[in-house]
């Protein structure tokens, strides 16, 4: 059994969002980089739990990034996993990234591919679906629970206003979100061990991106809050009813 977990680096959740070069590039100065929370807390940790239950599972991580991402990859390996593969390219668009990952996945013949449900920077929610299509595999998105019984996966996924439980034969691609697993803190043994785990660097396949960022913009600033005295909440309701016409 081989599992591939797709990870991406993102700015820390508290990072200040600003742009440079005439609003065409994200301002990276002073930004702390982390593993995208959905990739780490849910996809990676659940895969690690599966491997803890069945140590014969081979667990690989994959990312599309330049060498400056290696420290973030080591952090992921400190949590668990046998080996990381870095596809040596700057990420372009989701189709480019998914095509690169699909190439690696084809060569490694994985039984299970996990992604986070989206990255917290681009919010594309696209990599899992694209990888699944490029490999012609079933795709179960927004999974909140995942269990394995032999080669049958039982997956709970979010639907509007509820959840759905389904069964699918491996291989399958799954996008993971809250509920799959709980966040872990790497321990000293993991951190030390991560230094010597293989981090393979592969060159990207020739793929053309289909989209490009033209510019970024920040939302307009709010006009400022209108405070209503605590002893007169009825005034709030009047404003929402008569001024904002929302209720």
């Amino acid at each position: 059994m081989k599992i591939l977990v797709c990870i991406s680096k993102t700015p820390d959740t508290t990072a200040k969002i600003a742009f440079t070069d005439n609003n065409t590039k994200f301002a990276q100065d002073g930004v702390q980089w982390i593993i995208n929370p959905y990739d780490e807390w849910y996809a990676l940790v659940r895969a690690i739990e599966l491997k803890e239950k069945d140590p014969s599972i081979v667990l690989h991580l994959v990312t599309v990034a330049g060498a400056d991402t290696d420290p973030v990859i080591r952090k992921a390996l400190a949590l668990g996993g046998d080996e990381a593969i870095r596809i040596n390219a700057d990420s372009q668009d989701s189709f480019y990234i998914a095509s690169q990952i699909a190439e690696v996945a084809k060569q490694g013949s994985y039984d299970l591919i996990f992604t986070g449900k989206e990255t917290i920077d681009y919010n594309g929610s696209s990599i899992g679906g694209m990888v699944a299509e490029l490999l012609n595999l079933p795709y179960v998105s927004l999974a909140t629970k995942f269990d394995l019984n032999g080669t049958t996966a039982t997956i709970t996924r979010e639907i509007e206003g509820g959840e759905e439980i389904c069964e699918v034969q491996l291989p399958v691609v799954v996008s993971c979100q809250k509920g799959m697993a709980e966040q872990r803190i790497p321990n000293m043994k993991g951190i030390m061990g991560a230094r010597t785990k293989p981090l393979k660097v592969v060159e990207p396949a020739a793929v053309e991106a289909l989209t490009a960022v033209v510019s970024f913009e920040l939302p307009p600033a709010k006009a400022g809050v209108k405070l209503i005295p605590a002893d007169n909440p009825a005034e709030l309701v009047r404003l929402l009813h008569e001024e904002a016409k929302l209720i």
Partner: protein, 321 residues
């Protein structure tokens, strides 16, 4: 050439998010000087011709009942056939649960550029660029689509439904439907509740409510307003409320017309999930709570005193007291 809109349905009824997508797609078609068509899969209980009032000329209907269970792989195959039937060069999805699963697959299959999470109409003055939400609602990016076929998935509650006059031609589409590899065994749906992603009003509670036993306040107000309920991450983490109610950077990102936050301080991660709400009301006893900076209306006060009074006032406005 045409603009094709995927019409998402649940239990035979077209989802509100798809009415937004239809209205949006019709406008895109008008911009491009072409026509808008829709595609719907599975058994439908509604009059499809009536969807013409949202500006579409034709509805391709694949009335195969095996399509009543969603499978991204199977749906992608069918929609790809509809793209051919409609000779579409732009395909529109809602960026809802189903759209997020199908749009990327279709994009990979057709080698079509995809903008997911669009918040505005495309800018076609110089090429084709679409504005989307990025950095979890903290910024926007304008994305150029350079492929012959372009796919846009529209964030729910980002484009107003525009209904006019008109009837659509309903065209049965005899598409090849692959067998699903995903076997759905159980569906648990909370009926009667407004799905959070589609709600126009959301009432949300945080740690300031002190415990799950106090959620009656949130639920009562939500019920009166026809609103969905939500919560902050710490509340979901300690299991006061189910995970699916968690809104924020690592939970659900929502954009209702009205977001009422009770006892939520407004950490940057929470704001990321709700700052696309059109109007934000914050009730918090701490005047320094960062949420007030992002709010339109605020009350500095104890939720346990303030909210019951709000409930009474809403009842009066609604003629219930």
């Amino acid at each position: 050439m045409s603009v094709l809109i995927f019409i998402d349905q649940a239990d035979g009824h077209v989802k509100k998010a798809s009415l937004e997508a239809l209205s949006y797609g019709a406008k895109v078609a008008e911009q491009l000087g072409t026509t808008a068509e829709g595609v719907v899969l599975g058994t439908v209980k509604e009059d499809l011709a009536a969807l013409g009032k949202y500006g579409i000329k034709k509805v391709h209907h694949v009335a195969n009942d095996t399509l009543n269970h969603f499978d991204a792989q199977v749906f992608t195959g069918v929609i790809a056939q509809a793209v051919t039937a409609a000779n579409a060069n732009v395909v529109i999805f809602s960026n809802n649960v189903d759209g997020k699963a199908i749009a990327p697959r279709l994009a990979a299959r057709l080698k079509a550029g995809l903008v997911s999470g669009a918040v505005a109409l495309p800018n076609t003055s110089n090429g084709f660029a679409v504005k989307k939400s990025v950095f979890s609602g903290k910024a926007f990016a304008n994305i150029a689509l350079n492929s012959p076929i372009k796919i846009i998935s529209l964030n729910p509650n980002s484009y107003a439904i525009a209904a006019g006059e008109g009837t659509a031609e309903v065209a049965p589409l005899n598409a090849t439907v692959e067998a699903s590899k995903v076997k759905v065994t159980t569906v648990n749906k909370v009926t009667g509740e407004v799905p959070l992603s589609e709600a126009e009003i959301v009432v949300s509670g945080g740690r300031g409510l002190k415990g799950p036993e106090n959620w009656g306040l949130v639920e009562d107000l939500a019920k009166l307003l026809g609103a969905a309920t939500a919560c902050s991450r710490p509340v979901a983490d300690v299991h006061w409320r189910p995970h699916h109610e968690h809104v924020g950077q690592t939970g659900l990102a929502i954009a209702p017309n009205l977001y009422i936050a009770i006892g939520i301080s407004g950490a940057i991660q929470h704001l990321a999930g709700v700052n696309r709400s059109k109007t934000i009301v914050v009730i918090n006893k701490d005047p320094e709570a960062p949420f007030f900076k992002a709010a339109d209306y605020g009350i500095v006060g104890d939720a346990f005193e303030v909210v019951p009074k709000i409930i009474e006032a809403v009842k009066k406005v609604k003629g219930m007291a």
